[in-house]
């Protein structure tokens, strides 16, 4: 349905304009423009920022939980982390507007905190529980014989963890990262509230941005059925879907290369 409705956009909008120009203004004063480049760039900026924060934190926490923490601490921390995942995205967006935004404005000397960085931090908070839970399961499922062999050869705990266990669990860790990334790409309410929704192409993390998901959410309420604007929103949705599909395929490919036949 995404594709069928999305393709009907191109009856009126030239394909080149849609994919390669960066002005999204379907209800413009003058001529309507339908370029999604700045929307795609915004989505990527926010997602990659979120992953930069979440991947080291998430994999590190998972490794700590699986290998280093004693069982009492684990029994307490695991449910707490899973609780983070249960916070509704509106609440996280609200925290972004009220707490994180002004904090960022003070720290970096900006006029206001509604920027891509704000969105990235919030998305990292939302995708962390997913990454941690799946990665931790992957690390724990590494057979003990790997670790015993490494210790027998004289390595210490750190070397074993970084050189033996993590590479062995890599396919699971990649799966965790992809799941987290999927969550970040598709998140709508949080970015809608906390990133400022400016349609221009962002120059840096400190610019307000508008992601593809926010665009669909904002505009779908006001389009009459069957207009070019209506179809173009489906096209944006189709692009989003294809991006998620692409990310999943790449990750599947990477994961297959790391899989141990144990």
């Amino acid at each position: 349905m995404l594709l069928v409705n999305g393709i009907r956009t191109f009856a009126e909008v030239p394909v080149g304009e849609f994919f390669f120009t960066n002005e999204w203004n379907p209800s413009a004063y003058g001529k309507s423009t339908y370029g999604i480049l700045s929307l795609v760039a915004s989505t990527f900026l926010v997602t990659i920022g979120a992953m930069i924060i979440a991947i080291p934190l998430g994999v590190g926490t998972a490794a700590y939980l699986a290998e280093v923490a004693d069982s009492r601490l684990r029994r307490f921390l695991k449910p707490t982390i899973e609780l983070l995942a249960a916070i509704p995205s509106v609440a996280v967006g609200f925290i972004g507007i009220v707490l994180v935004g002004p904090f960022l404005a003070r720290v970096f000397g900006l006029d206001n905190g509604l920027t891509a960085l704000n969105g990235s931090i919030l998305l990292a908070i939302m995708s962390l529980p997913t990454i941690i839970t799946v990665a931790e399961d992957a690390i724990r499922s590494v057979p003990n014989s790997f670790k015993e062999g490494s210790y027998a050869l004289g390595s210490n705990k750190w070397t074993t963890l970084v050189r033996v266990v993590l590479p062995a669990a890599m396919s699971g860790i990649i799966a965790a990262i992809v799941l987290g990334m999927g969550r970040a790409i598709g998140e709508t309410m949080t970015v809608l509230m906390a990133t400022g929704n400016a349609t221009e192409m962002p120059d840096s993390f400190f610019d307000p941005v508008r992601t593809m998901t926010a665009t669909i959410a904002i505009e779908l309420g006001e389009v009459p059925f069957g207009t070019t604007h209506y179809f173009s929103l489906f096209a944006v949705g189709a692009v989003l879907f294809l991006i998620s599909l692409g990310v999943n395929l790449i990750a599947e490919n990477l994961a297959a290369r790391f899989r141990y036949k144990a």
Partner: protein, 308 residues
Amino acid sequence: MKPILQILFGCFLVLISWSCGGPSDVTNILIKGSDTEVNLALSLAETYMAKDEKVSIAVTGGGSGAGIAALINGKTEIANSSRAMKDEEIALAKERGVNPLGVVFAVDAVAVAVNGNSKVEELTIAQLGAIYRGDITNWKDVGGADMNISLYGRQSSSGTFVYFRDNILKADYAPSLKQMNGTAQIVEGLKADPAGIGYVGVGYVVQKDGSITEGIKLVRVKTDENALAYLPDKQENITSGNYPIVRPLFQYVNGKPSGELRNFMLYCLQDEGQKIVQEAGFYPVSQQYWAQNEQVLNFSYASSKTSK
């Protein structure tokens, strides 16, 4: 296990039969649209439902664009809009078999607000347009400090967005405009941002006693360099026509209304309804819109209970 299942099934049946069917002499009216008008519409709906038990009115926001789209899609009885319908929207409606007719039930002034600590006192309409088009980018060019102007506005589904664009900018907004989700978010943004400027309906920021919301400052607006600049906090500045950014608030319906729908819309125009309009921070319908209202609702201002 079995008794529990029976009880649950029984509750399910009761729920189903309660939600469908029932007495059908209650008229349901759905009002959808402008966020500027939503609180006012809610007050009007509540007082009217208290007087007339045969009507059930549900009010939602979503922006003028959303309301108009719902009317065109046949999904609402009344579309609240803080802007007039565009020619393309009217044409699309007629194609779908909907005949949109508009009634003006209140008049609104749009205030221009800046951060409470800003040094800017007044702006001309031309300067406002240039600021929002992105032609003027630094506050020092209009009498403020040396800071880049930070623009706040609504989204394209908002009638206020469209009205401001079509009447003040007469061109497209600068792409650096931060499109906030509602008037509340604009006000919150302005309170925190020393270089911010935003536009909001007057009723939202000016209370009944004339006081203005804390943390922001309203800018005096003048039509050109030589005119007097007016602040929209006093009613006479607006009803006299001195404050330049004023617009009618519409209720659009499909064809001439009749029965309970017409009664409700008449109520909004009569003394009681207009009093509620004023308490919400808007202004009574000025005479230039009377002829349109009389035609759509088929009544006469002179002979009914409505006064000025």
